[in-house]
Symmetry: C2
Subunit: 147 residues, 2 copies
């Protein structure tokens, strides 16, 4: 099973990069600013990270949480490291990544779009996707100013 | 808002402890061995962790994943850091903790109980709780042998 992440030449909608991680805006913006945080090295379990990789991750967590508070008044953040989908394949070969969901106790109007976190204080919902135009995606990345 | 974790004198069903973290078996064993990994120090966001705390966490991740593979043939692991519920309170004061869910592509029979991960390869389910007797909880902790 080839790894789709490792084969990818370019990620779209990059929010920022560190030595060991790439942050890309998710296709789904149900929660304004939802991102994937992807390991640059192929590994499959959280336990495979090196000390340098997790320390770099901690710095990244600090940058992201701080920037989302400043830029969009995000209140708190859901971090998940799952990799479930890879195990639907015959020969699973997951590539380590995090799901980052900023959460809001208020409506956010940004670039003409309205974002509402109707489940604030509860588990994130799944199964619905909020797609937004490329120009608004670019504006979100610009506003975060992490590049 | 007082912190219920900080006020707790003793956690039940402790799987292991490190300098900075306590691991306690969850009330819910839908996924055999589900645990809470609780910071010993009061903090509210992942970004507030120190370098030493995250390095200690990484060592703990390695111990837990390794022990669950050996003890119960767990295939992979879902790690989540959410803290949503605290924000349902008037003055939220979340205490940092992780949810750890081992996942299985096979039925596990242990101490006379059967555990099945019917959603393997998919997001964990919520809303149902599998309670098991205290004696089986103790046997799970014993088998993990992490104390």
């Amino acid at each position: 099973m080839k790894c789709e992440y490792c084969q990818k030449q370019n990620f779209e909608d990059i929010v920022c990069e560190t030595k060991f991680w790439i942050v890309a805006l998710s296709y789904d913006q149900t929660y304004l600013g939802r991102c994937f945080v992807i390991s640059k090295r192929h590994c499959s379990h959280l336990s495979e990270l090196s000390e340098n990789e997790i320390l770099d991750f901690l710095e990244l967590v600090k940058s992201l949480e701080s920037s989302f508070k400043k830029s969009f008044d995000a209140i708190m953040f859901n971090w998940t490291c799952l990799m479930n989908n890879a195990y639907l394949e015959k020969n699973p070969n997951p590539h380590l990544h995090w799901h980052f969901r900023p959460r809001y106790n208020h409506k956010v109007e940004f670039a003409g779009s309205i974002f509402e976190d109707n489940e604030f204080g509860k588990h994130y919902i799944r199964g619905i996707e909020k797609k937004i135009p490329k120009e608004i995606r670019n504006k979100i990345i610009e506003k975060l100013n992490l590049k």
